[in-house]
Symmetry: C2
Subunit: 132 residues, 2 copies
Protein backbone atom coordinates (compact mmCIF):
# COMPACT_ATOMS: atom_id res chain seq x y z
CA UNK A 1 0.00 0.00 0.00
CA UNK A 2 1.26 3.46 -0.86
CA UNK A 3 3.03 5.49 1.80
CA UNK A 4 2.25 8.68 -0.11
CA UNK A 5 -1.06 10.51 -0.28
CA UNK A 6 -3.31 9.41 -3.13
CA UNK A 7 -5.42 11.92 -5.04
CA UNK A 8 -8.84 10.37 -5.50
CA UNK A 9 -9.41 12.10 -8.84
CA UNK A 10 -6.20 10.62 -10.22
CA UNK A 11 -7.07 7.22 -8.81
CA UNK A 12 -10.51 7.42 -10.40
CA UNK A 13 -8.97 8.41 -13.74
CA UNK A 14 -6.84 5.23 -13.72
CA UNK A 15 -9.72 2.82 -14.42
CA UNK A 16 -13.05 2.66 -16.20
CA UNK A 17 -14.66 -0.55 -14.96
CA UNK A 18 -18.05 -0.17 -13.28
CA UNK A 19 -18.96 -1.84 -9.99
CA UNK A 20 -15.32 -2.87 -9.63
CA UNK A 21 -13.78 -1.25 -6.54
CA UNK A 22 -10.14 -0.20 -6.26
CA UNK A 23 -8.42 -0.19 -2.86
CA UNK A 24 -6.89 3.23 -2.20
CA UNK A 25 -5.92 2.82 1.44
CA UNK A 26 -5.82 0.31 4.24
CA UNK A 27 -6.67 1.14 7.86
CA UNK A 28 -5.78 -1.70 10.22
CA UNK A 29 -7.73 -4.61 8.72
CA UNK A 30 -10.14 -2.39 6.81
CA UNK A 31 -10.02 -1.23 3.19
CA UNK A 32 -10.91 2.14 1.76
CA UNK A 33 -12.23 1.44 -1.72
CA UNK A 34 -13.46 3.67 -4.53
CA UNK A 35 -15.74 2.64 -7.37
CA UNK A 36 -17.45 3.97 -10.43
CA UNK A 37 -21.02 2.79 -10.64
CA UNK A 38 -23.94 3.13 -13.03
CA UNK A 39 -27.18 1.23 -13.44
CA UNK A 40 -28.04 -1.51 -10.97
CA UNK A 41 -25.95 -3.64 -8.65
CA UNK A 42 -27.64 -6.73 -7.20
CA UNK A 43 -29.45 -7.69 -4.02
CA UNK A 44 -26.96 -9.00 -1.51
CA UNK A 45 -26.25 -9.24 2.22
CA UNK A 46 -23.13 -8.91 4.32
CA UNK A 47 -23.92 -11.13 7.30
CA UNK A 48 -21.00 -10.05 9.46
CA UNK A 49 -20.18 -6.46 8.63
CA UNK A 50 -21.63 -3.01 8.18
CA UNK A 51 -20.75 -1.24 4.93
CA UNK A 52 -20.08 2.49 4.69
CA UNK A 53 -20.73 4.65 1.63
CA UNK A 54 -19.65 8.20 0.82
CA UNK A 55 -20.80 9.61 -2.50
CA UNK A 56 -17.96 11.49 -4.20
CA UNK A 57 -19.96 12.46 -7.27
CA UNK A 58 -23.37 11.77 -8.77
CA UNK A 59 -26.17 10.15 -6.80
CA UNK A 60 -26.34 6.69 -5.29
CA UNK A 61 -29.57 4.92 -4.44
CA UNK A 62 -29.62 2.02 -2.01
CA UNK A 63 -32.72 -0.15 -1.78
CA UNK A 64 -33.06 -2.15 1.44
CA UNK A 65 -35.29 -4.99 2.55
CA UNK A 66 -36.12 -4.69 6.22
CA UNK A 67 -38.71 -6.34 8.47
CA UNK A 68 -40.93 -3.29 7.91
CA UNK A 69 -40.71 -3.66 4.14
CA UNK A 70 -38.64 -2.51 1.21
CA UNK A 71 -37.48 1.09 1.04
CA UNK A 72 -34.68 3.09 -0.48
CA UNK A 73 -32.38 5.96 0.45
CA UNK A 74 -30.91 8.48 -1.97
CA UNK A 75 -27.39 9.73 -1.37
CA UNK A 76 -26.46 12.84 -3.32
CA UNK A 77 -22.85 13.96 -3.68
CA UNK A 78 -21.32 14.45 -0.25
CA UNK A 79 -23.72 12.16 1.61
CA UNK A 80 -22.70 9.31 3.90
CA UNK A 81 -24.61 6.23 4.97
CA UNK A 82 -23.93 2.90 6.66
CA UNK A 83 -25.78 -0.26 5.66
CA UNK A 84 -26.13 -2.33 8.84
CA UNK A 85 -24.84 -5.90 8.74
CA UNK A 86 -27.49 -8.42 7.83
CA UNK A 87 -29.56 -5.95 5.81
CA UNK A 88 -30.29 -7.09 2.27
CA UNK A 89 -29.57 -4.20 -0.05
CA UNK A 90 -29.17 -3.25 -3.70
CA UNK A 91 -27.20 -0.16 -4.73
CA UNK A 92 -28.02 1.56 -8.00
CA UNK A 93 -27.11 4.78 -9.77
CA UNK A 94 -29.42 5.59 -12.67
CA UNK A 95 -27.25 8.53 -13.79
CA UNK A 96 -23.93 7.17 -12.54
CA UNK A 97 -21.88 7.95 -9.46
CA UNK A 98 -18.47 7.59 -7.89
CA UNK A 99 -18.37 6.29 -4.36
CA UNK A 100 -15.97 5.60 -1.49
CA UNK A 101 -16.49 2.64 0.84
CA UNK A 102 -15.06 1.46 4.16
CA UNK A 103 -15.31 -2.20 5.02
CA UNK A 104 -13.18 -4.99 6.39
CA UNK A 105 -10.49 -6.24 4.01
CA UNK A 106 -11.73 -9.32 2.22
CA UNK A 107 -15.37 -8.21 2.11
CA UNK A 108 -16.92 -9.30 -1.18
CA UNK A 109 -18.80 -6.82 -3.35
CA UNK A 110 -21.63 -9.34 -3.62
CA UNK A 111 -21.79 -10.19 0.06
CA UNK A 112 -22.33 -13.58 1.66
CA UNK A 113 -25.72 -14.24 0.05
CA UNK A 114 -26.86 -12.74 -3.22
CA UNK A 115 -28.88 -13.00 -6.41
CA UNK A 116 -27.27 -14.51 -9.49
CA UNK A 117 -24.36 -12.25 -10.40
CA UNK A 118 -24.99 -10.56 -13.77
CA UNK A 119 -22.15 -10.10 -16.27
CA UNK A 120 -21.74 -6.41 -15.55
CA UNK A 121 -21.01 -6.96 -11.84
CA UNK A 122 -17.49 -7.72 -10.64
CA UNK A 123 -17.61 -10.14 -7.68
CA UNK A 124 -14.39 -9.10 -5.96
CA UNK A 125 -12.83 -8.16 -2.66
CA UNK A 126 -11.36 -5.10 -4.40
CA UNK A 127 -8.51 -4.56 -6.84
CA UNK A 128 -5.18 -2.85 -6.33
CA UNK A 129 -4.63 0.52 -7.98
CA UNK A 130 -2.31 -1.17 -10.47
CA UNK A 131 -2.05 1.68 -12.93
CA UNK A 132 -0.16 3.86 -10.53
CA UNK B 1 -26.62 6.78 15.10
CA UNK B 2 -28.78 8.04 12.26
CA UNK B 3 -30.46 5.55 9.96
CA UNK B 4 -30.79 8.21 7.28
CA UNK B 5 -28.07 9.53 4.98
CA UNK B 6 -26.18 12.52 6.35
CA UNK B 7 -25.08 15.35 4.07
CA UNK B 8 -21.53 16.24 5.04
CA UNK B 9 -21.99 19.91 4.14
CA UNK B 10 -24.97 20.17 6.49
CA UNK B 11 -23.09 18.30 9.19
CA UNK B 12 -20.13 20.67 8.80
CA UNK B 13 -22.43 23.67 8.99
CA UNK B 14 -23.73 22.49 12.38
CA UNK B 15 -20.55 23.31 14.32
CA UNK B 16 -17.65 25.74 14.34
CA UNK B 17 -15.14 24.25 16.78
CA UNK B 18 -11.70 23.50 15.38
CA UNK B 19 -9.84 20.22 15.97
CA UNK B 20 -13.05 18.82 17.50
CA UNK B 21 -14.34 15.90 15.44
CA UNK B 22 -17.99 15.02 15.03
CA UNK B 23 -19.04 11.41 14.46
CA UNK B 24 -21.17 11.13 11.32
CA UNK B 25 -21.33 7.37 10.93
CA UNK B 26 -20.36 4.16 12.64
CA UNK B 27 -19.09 1.09 10.78
CA UNK B 28 -18.89 -1.96 13.04
CA UNK B 29 -16.62 -0.72 15.85
CA UNK B 30 -15.15 2.12 13.80
CA UNK B 31 -16.18 5.78 13.60
CA UNK B 32 -16.34 8.07 10.61
CA UNK B 33 -15.57 11.54 11.93
CA UNK B 34 -15.40 14.96 10.33
CA UNK B 35 -13.49 17.96 11.63
CA UNK B 36 -12.71 21.55 10.83
CA UNK B 37 -9.05 22.30 11.37
CA UNK B 38 -6.76 25.33 11.12
CA UNK B 39 -3.31 26.04 12.45
CA UNK B 40 -1.44 23.32 14.28
CA UNK B 41 -2.51 20.19 16.09
CA UNK B 42 0.07 18.53 18.34
CA UNK B 43 2.60 15.73 18.12
CA UNK B 44 0.97 12.48 19.16
CA UNK B 45 1.00 8.74 18.57
CA UNK B 46 -1.67 6.10 18.30
CA UNK B 47 0.12 2.99 19.48
CA UNK B 48 -2.53 0.50 18.44
CA UNK B 49 -4.29 1.84 15.39
CA UNK B 50 -3.76 3.33 11.97
CA UNK B 51 -5.61 6.59 11.26
CA UNK B 52 -7.16 7.45 7.90
CA UNK B 53 -7.58 10.97 6.53
CA UNK B 54 -9.57 12.25 3.55
CA UNK B 55 -9.38 15.97 2.85
CA UNK B 56 -12.83 17.33 2.01
CA UNK B 57 -11.70 20.91 1.49
CA UNK B 58 -8.54 22.97 1.91
CA UNK B 59 -5.14 21.38 2.46
CA UNK B 60 -3.91 19.27 5.34
CA UNK B 61 -0.25 18.82 6.21
CA UNK B 62 0.89 15.92 8.35
CA UNK B 63 4.38 15.94 9.81
CA UNK B 64 5.74 12.54 10.81
CA UNK B 65 8.73 11.40 12.84
CA UNK B 66 10.12 8.18 11.46
CA UNK B 67 13.38 6.29 12.00
CA UNK B 68 14.69 7.96 8.84
CA UNK B 69 13.90 11.42 10.20
CA UNK B 70 11.10 13.96 10.22
CA UNK B 71 9.16 14.62 7.05
CA UNK B 72 5.73 15.84 6.04
CA UNK B 73 3.06 15.05 3.50
CA UNK B 74 0.64 17.54 1.98
CA UNK B 75 -2.89 16.42 1.26
CA UNK B 76 -4.85 18.72 -1.03
CA UNK B 77 -8.63 18.47 -1.36
CA UNK B 78 -9.59 14.96 -2.43
CA UNK B 79 -6.43 13.27 -1.15
CA UNK B 80 -6.36 10.25 1.16
CA UNK B 81 -3.61 9.02 3.46
CA UNK B 82 -3.20 6.55 6.32
CA UNK B 83 -0.89 7.24 9.25
CA UNK B 84 0.49 3.88 10.35
CA UNK B 85 0.07 2.92 14.00
CA UNK B 86 3.03 3.86 16.14
CA UNK B 87 4.05 6.79 13.94
CA UNK B 88 4.37 10.07 15.81
CA UNK B 89 2.61 12.73 13.77
CA UNK B 90 1.35 16.30 13.88
CA UNK B 91 -1.41 17.49 11.54
CA UNK B 92 -1.61 21.13 10.60
CA UNK B 93 -3.53 23.28 8.15
CA UNK B 94 -2.04 26.75 7.70
CA UNK B 95 -4.98 27.93 5.59
CA UNK B 96 -7.64 25.71 7.17
CA UNK B 97 -9.21 22.46 5.99
CA UNK B 98 -12.12 20.16 6.54
CA UNK B 99 -11.28 16.49 6.91
CA UNK B 100 -12.90 13.09 7.26
CA UNK B 101 -11.30 10.42 9.43
CA UNK B 102 -11.84 6.72 9.87
CA UNK B 103 -10.60 5.04 13.02
CA UNK B 104 -11.72 2.67 15.78
CA UNK B 105 -14.43 4.06 18.07
CA UNK B 106 -12.86 5.40 21.22
CA UNK B 107 -9.66 6.56 19.55
CA UNK B 108 -8.52 9.81 21.16
CA UNK B 109 -7.68 12.82 19.01
CA UNK B 110 -4.45 13.19 20.98
CA UNK B 111 -3.42 9.57 20.83
CA UNK B 112 -1.86 7.45 23.54
CA UNK B 113 1.24 9.62 23.97
CA UNK B 114 1.40 13.30 23.18
CA UNK B 115 2.83 16.74 23.88
CA UNK B 116 1.07 18.97 26.39
CA UNK B 117 -2.40 19.64 25.00
CA UNK B 118 -2.79 23.35 24.16
CA UNK B 119 -6.04 25.15 24.84
CA UNK B 120 -7.16 25.17 21.23
CA UNK B 121 -7.06 21.37 20.93
CA UNK B 122 -10.04 19.26 21.97
CA UNK B 123 -8.85 15.96 23.50
CA UNK B 124 -11.85 13.81 22.65
CA UNK B 125 -12.96 10.52 21.18
CA UNK B 126 -15.39 12.48 18.98
CA UNK B 127 -18.67 14.26 19.61
CA UNK B 128 -22.16 13.38 18.44
CA UNK B 129 -23.74 15.54 15.77
CA UNK B 130 -26.01 17.00 18.42
CA UNK B 131 -27.41 19.89 16.44
CA UNK B 132 -29.31 17.66 14.07
Amino acid sequence: MSNEPIALDEALASFDALWSPRIVARVNDYDVRIAKVAGEHLWHVHDDTDEFFLVLDGELHIAMREPSGEHAVRLPKGAVFTIPRGTEHKPSAPAGATILMFEPSGTSTVGDRHDMVPDHIDATTGHALTDR
